[in-house]
Each structure stands twice: as C-alpha cells, then as structure tokens.
C-alpha cells in the first residue's frame, strides 16, 4: 500500500513537472513572453513602438475564441491532432533542460539525441497538418519546411557532437545535465575558443528552427500565404502559434544550457539562477531579433546552400578543433 502511494506521489510530481513547472505552462508563458520581447525589440530596431510585450498572449487567446473551420479536403482527425502532437513534444523537451540549478526532470545518458529528434516533431506536425489541409500553397510550404529542416539538421548534429566531445573527452556526454555540470566546474562553453564557431552556428540555426525573418521561407505569408498554416484557423492555429513561441523558448534554453552554462550560486540558486536564465534567454533571443531586423527573406536554394556551407562549415571547424583536443 505505501508503495502504491509513493508511486502515486511520483506520478503527481511528474504530472506537476509536465504540466506546470518546466513543462507546458512554464514553457508556454516563457515562450509567449519571449515572442513578445522579440516583437517589441524588433519594433524598436525599426524605430517604431511595437506591440505590447504581452501581445502574443492576446493573439493566442483571440485565436482560441475564433471559429475553427475544417477544410473539406482535410481529415479532421489529423488536422486537429497535428498541433497537439507538436505541443506535446515541445513541452516534453522542456523536461530535459536543467534550468537555473533545478536539475532536469528527466535526465539521461543521451538526451541530446532525444532532443534532436523531438525538435523535428513540431516541424513534422506542421508538415502533416499542412499537407492534411490539401492546399497547393501548403504543398509548397511543406516542401520548403522540409528543405529548411534538411538544411539546419546537418550543422545542428555537428554542433551537438562537438559539444558532447568537448564535454566528455574520451567518454562522450550526451546528457544535458552532464554538460551543465561540466560547465559548473570548467566555465561556460562559449568561452572555450574552440566552441565559438559552434555557438555561432547554433545561433544561426535558431532562426531557421523558429522560422523568423531571413529563414522564414516555409511560412512566407507575403509569398505563399503562410504555407502549411494556410488553412488553419481558430484553436489549432492558436496552438501552432504557441508551438512557435515554445520552440523559441526551447531553443534559447538549449543554447543557454549548451553554451552559457551554469554558475554555482550557492544558496541563491533559485533566484540567481532564474535571473541568469532570463538574461541568457533574452540575450539569445536578441541575437535572433537582431538578425531578423536587418535581413530579408532568403530564397530556399540560397538558404539550403547557406546552411550546408557557412553554418555547417562553422560547426565542422568546431568539431575538428574539439576532436584534436583543442
């Protein structure tokens, strides 16, 4: 009997993790706030005032209140399930991040690869949902989304491998907790000069992953009418927008964990960690916004070439340097 109770408590704690703290709610709020900051700062970079920081919340709630039209060409089940699949995988991903001293809800020996795969799921959800709607614009959109994914996946893999090698030495560390712990003792990875190209590459990957300006070919609303999202309306669209925001949050969190690390704050771990995390997340998002502010949308073939030459090159430099023990 106590065993069952303990088990039940475990499940409760896990549910709390999943739904509230590092999971859904936290990620949603954080992601939407980050998206708001992104829009606000972008506006200021363009010398305008911009929306309030809570604007993404308004957008989300408004979309929740709108009618959901399911197009005749779509299968209602897949059409409605697609955004939720993306949401689930994203909130699941949050459980792997050791956020401000709080150790990850799920640690593991190789969660980096799990994250690598979980990162593709929202894109896949978008693609499945988009192609379920049967629009030719969505067809073009998913084609582009797929090529973008092919583009950034190669450098992303190389960055992750480089980090794992750098941290692990002879024994690879594919766990975020391990990387975080390593940085506690050895300082931020960003300040290891061999990791700087990898960090740069990762920063260039974030916009493509999130789908902002120079790399937003898949959802180019002025060109192919938002691509895969073209037929979405109402609550599913709201969740897709939420997914984008959470993805932003996840990517910044990943960057912070991978490169900005952790600082031993002793008894102030909770507050100090929070501040550190917020600062690093905002800094990361600012980099993204900055790129957004002064670039125009790339063509898809240019994008692919860019990722497989420049970004992959940066990551490769880092990987080679790390491999030779630098």
């Amino acid at each position: 009997m106590p065993d069952i109770l303990a088990r039940l408590l475990d499940v409760l704690v896990v549910a709390l993790h999943v739904l509230i703290f590092p999971g859904l709610l936290f990620a949603a709020v954080g992601g939407l706030l980050l998206a708001g900051i992104d829009r606000k700062v972008l506006a200021h970079m363009q010398r305008r005032i911009g929306p309030p920081i809570v604007q993404p919340f308004y957008d989300f709630f408004k979309l929740m209140g709108k009618e959901t039209i399911i197009p005749a060409a779509a299968r209602p089940g897949i059409y409605k399930a697609a955004p939720i699949i993306g949401l689930v995988s994203l909130s699941l991903m949050m459980l792997f991040f050791p956020i401000f001293g709080h150790s990850a809800a799920f640690g593991g020996t190789a969660d980096l690869i799990v994250i690598l795969y979980l990162l593709t799921i929202p894109a896949v959800a978008l693609i499945i949902g988009g192609s379920a709607s049967g629009s030719p614009f969505a067809g073009v959109g998913i084609s582009r989304e797929m090529v973008v994914m092919l583009g950034y996946e190669l450098p992303l893999v190389m960055v992750l491998l480089a980090v794992a090698k750098k941290v692990g030495g002879s024994a690879l560390v594919f766990s975020l907790q391990g990387i975080s712990d390593w940085q506690l003792t050895n300082g931020c990875l960003l300040f290891q000069w061999s990791m700087i190209p990898a960090a740069l590459a990762f920063l260039l990957i974030i916009p493509a992953e999130v789908g902002t300006q120079p790399f937003d070919v898949a959802e180019a609303e002025t060109e192919i009418c938002e691509g895969p999202l073209i037929e979405y309306s109402g609550a599913p669209l709201a969740i897709f927008k939420l997914n984008t925001a959470i993805k932003m949050f996840v990517m910044t969190a990943l960057f912070s964990v991978l490169f900005l690390g952790d600082i031993n704050l002793g008894q102030y771990w909770l507050l100090g960690g929070l501040v550190l995390f917020v600062i690093s997340a905002v800094l990361t998002i600012l980099c993204m916004t900055f790129i957004h502010a002064f670039t125009a949308r790339l063509k898809i073939e240019h994008l692919f070439k860019f990722y497989w030459t420049v970004v992959a090159g940066l990551a490769l430099v880092s990987l080679v340097l790390v491999w030779f023990g630098l």
Partner: protein, 640 residues
Amino acid sequence: MSNFYVHFPVISVMGLFLAAFLVEIFGNKNKHVRYAISLIACLGAAAMTFYLIVPVFFRGEVISYWMGGWKPEGGYAFGIGYEIDGLGLFFGLLTALTFLMSVLFSRRYMERDGHLGHYYTLFLMLAGSVLGLVFTGDVFNLFIMIEIMTFASVALTAFRHGKHPEALEGAFKYLVLGSIGSSLFLLGVALLYLTTHTLNMAQIAALISSKGMQPTTLLAFGTMLAGLAVKSFVVPFHTPAADAYATAPASVSTLFSGMVNKAGIYGIIRLTYILFRTMDKESLMLLLSILGALTMFVGVTMALAQHDFKRLLAFHSISQIGYVLMAVGLGTNLGLYGGLFHAMNHTLFKGLLFLTAGAVYYATGTTNLDKLGGLAKRMPRTTACFLVGAFAISGIPPFNGFASKWIIYQAAYEKANLSGNFIYVIITVTALLVSVMTLASFIKVTGAVFFGQAPATLEKTKEVPFGMQLPMFIMSALCIACGLFYNQTIVYVVNPAVNAVTNPAKYVDTMMGEGYAFANGIGPQPTTFTSVSIWDPVFWLLLFVIVTCAVTLVAVSGARERGPVSLPEKTDSKHATFFGCEESLHSHVGGSDLFWGFKKDLKGYFKVMGNLHSGKTNDYALWVVIGVTLITLFTFVFLS
C-alpha cells in the same frame, strides 16, 4: 519426448517446400485449395519457428539437427546439419513473420492476377529457402538456399510482366547480378573447402581459428563477403534491388525487404562474427561501416529523387540496410544491438510500408507519385498505417525506428570516441542526416499520395478489403509496440541473438561436441545487454499522460469559451481550399516538385547519381565486378 522441437526447423523448411509442390499439383484449379495449402504451410512453419523461442531465447539452447542422423565422426562433420542459435532464430522469426503477413495480404491483393498456382509455389519456395538459409549449419546448403531464393525471387519479380513489362527487365537484372553474387559465394565455398575440407560451418569456424588465416582463406572470405554483399544489396550492388522491388507485386516486395535482404545481412554477420571471426580487425570494421554509410546515403538520396512509390521504398530499403550494415560493422556490442534491432524494425516498418504501397496500388492501379494524391480521406486506415510506418522509418519517437536508430548513433559515436578515428564521426553525422532525409522523403510520399487534392481519376477510390488491412494493422501494432517497449524487445529478442553472435564457442560446441571450440582456440565471451537504456516504460507512460493532459486542456478551455468548430457538411466555398486563382488553374503539388531547393543545390550530385543508375545491365555488372574486386582486394591487403 522432451526435445521434440529439434525437428521443428527441418519440418518447417521441408513443409514449405512440400507445400510448394502440393500447390503446383493440386492448387492450379481451385483457388481455395491452393490458398489453404499455402496458408497452412506458412502458419505451420511460422508456429514452429515461434515455438523455438522458448528453448533458444528463453533457455539459451542451441538446437542442432543432423540430416539422416549423420553425426560428426572423428571430429569431422560429413552430414548436413541444421543449427539454430539465437542469431539464426532471430532472423528466422523475422522471416516467419514476413511471409505470414505476406501470405495473408496476398489473398486479396493477388486476386486479380492469373496463374496464382505458380505464384504460391514460388512464394512458398522463397519462404522455405530463406528459412532454410537462416537455419542451416552447412555452408554449401547455404549456397543452395541462396540459389533457390534468387531463383524464386526472380520469378516472382517477373510475375506481373503482363501488365508491367518493366518487371521482366528488373527480373533479368536481378538474375544476372544475383548469379554473379551466388557464383562468387560458391567460389568462396570451394576455396574454403580447399583449406578446411569440410562444409559444416561450426567446424569451419573451429578450423580457421586453429589454423589461422591463410591466403586462400582470406580469398574465400573476400569472395564470400562480396557475394553476400551482392545478396544484401550493399551500395555498388544495390541497383537490381531498386528495379526488382519496384516492379514485383507488393506482397513480394514485402518478402524481399523483410527476408531476402535480411538473408544477406544474416550471411554477413554469420561470416564475419562466427565463421571467420574477423570482426576484431579494425580495417574490416572500417570497410563495413563505410560501406554501410555509403549505402544509406546513396539509398536515401536516390529515394529523394524518385517519383514512384515502390521504387522510393526500394531505395529506402537499401538505405536502411546501410544502417544495419554500418551498425553491425562497428564491431561493438552496442553496434550489434543497434544493427540487429534495426534489422528487425526494418522488417516491420518496411514490410508495412510495402503493404500500404500494395494497398494503394490495389485501390488505384498506380504507384506513380505524380498521379496520386488525397487518398487520406478515401483510405483512412491505410493512411494511418502508412503514417505509422513512415514515422517509424524516419526515427520519430515513440516508434520503433527511433529506438534502434538512437542505439546506432550512440554506438557509432562511441566507436568514434574509442577508436579516435574521425571517419566514424563523419559516419555518425551521415547517419543522423540520413535519418532526416528519410523523414523528408516520407513527407514527400505523405504529401503526394495521401494528402493534398485528389486527382479526378481517384475520386472513387475505396478502402482496401479487410483481408489486406489485417496484416497492415498487425505490422503497425508491432511497430508501435517495439517502440514503446523497446527495452523489453531488446532484452528478450535482440539480446539472445547478440549473445549468440558474440559467443561462437557455444555454436561450435553444440555442433561438434563439447570442448571442440576450446580446443581450437575459440574462447567463450558471452555478453549481456547493459547500460543502453535511458528510458524505462514509465517514461512513455508519461508521454501518454501529457498527451491526455494537453488534449484535455484544449478541450476544457474550449468547452464553452472556445470558438465553434465548423465541420464541412458538404462542399461549399467556406470549407473549400483557399487559393488565389481559378479552380481550373489549381494544381496539386506533385511528388516530383517537392524539395526543389534541395535538388537545385545538389543538382550536380543528383545528375551524377542519375547517370550511374543508367539501367543498363552491363553497367550494373561492371559495378558489381568493380565492387567485388575492391572488397576482395581490401580484405586481402588489410586483413592478412
């Protein structure tokens, strides 16, 4: 009779062959008779194979069976022996599962074809030959099974030549290249016999171990490896696979990817790990890993360029075999786990995908991606099964492909770390990239076949009959189950096979008598499955919790406050697809048009690959000759 099951392997193989003849004799007139014979034979063989799990997997036995009771005499094995260890049974299970599914599928799928008596004859011969191939302990018997397998495969490939003349072409190429492969294998057998004067694999293993590698043995190894590589369609030899898989009936394609492919892989594992025990050589590991990486990369990129559903799947088969070969070639335990697990998963999901391709062909009469579209609304169950297969092959959690691929990555990178060789890093990156490309390629199929707008010709498409759905459902369920409970799968299914691979002494001892292996210098080195797992099933349980919670959240917030959901009652402009032009100008984005930017940037590569896959038999033969020469030379130079 406590160990009555020792007869099961032989009975199952012979039963299949016997049924083949019975079908030819009695089944040409009555379709029920021939199907009953086929089904009973397949069910019986499968049941017997599955029964062997109990002694072999659970109790760790190795079953040996001497034909006619010709036991080894004076340390020399004269008779033909059957020997079933964990590895053999592992592949035997895959084989049994595959032909069982395929025979279930064939009943409705092939109903529109004539000459079905011949079809089931060849089908049963193919099943029997592959089952015999993995159960046999005799190297010449292995060759004969390979030949029967090739023969039956070729005939089955050309089975639909009436409707598709290309099937003849595919069959001919397959036959020519396959005969080169089997001839090479025979050459290796002959050379092996020259040095060891025996054909029993257990004894050969022991003798090679005691005598050491001689030049003749090396040559034999090289040619046999090359021959088996041809049979498993590794890269320079992959060309007939694409043609044959694409043109054969889908039920046969399922057999090809489920067991014919695997037979080659089984041969390579048996050859390298047990027969010659050369897997401790770094150079061989490199050779196999690089071959594997090359295979998966070439396969997946070629798949991206395809616009025929089955041809695309065929190239994916090649690509996934590359994964298996790469993992097996790493020479580590983890690699073996990954490779074998992936081989099993490949059987499941690729069989499933070929079955869905067959269902699409059955329903629409074509597999051309540019002519298909919008089937999701018309064939919802097939679509669901296809999505499961596509996600599994792309390595999306929580499906089985993810679990095995993840072990493979870990193994590859670990290998890179251990050996300090940068090539393994490249291989790891390639493997990860290929996974994404696989996903991309299946997105293309998903978009082109099941989603999007249906062409006018497919308006009346209907879901396939239940007889065809059932095998797809079983395969899908297995895909999901192996993904969710992959830990258990590895422990109970893959682990015995890996143990068998890493413990050749037991294999030799069972066949040749206790102590024979030790006498010839084969030491026991059993391993167990350790420290691979990161997740336990509780984790996946949690996933379901989250899914439920998320759905509930959406539902709760939407109960009253959320906007209404407007379902399309009938076709009106409110629910019509949004596009900026007239309906007549509207077009579905076809399969060939996807990945435009990708193809444009890599057009040089695709052009070269297109030229290499010229379709000429001579070119392909040349490829094989070059590949075989290189492999043989490599083994000769680096393994001595």
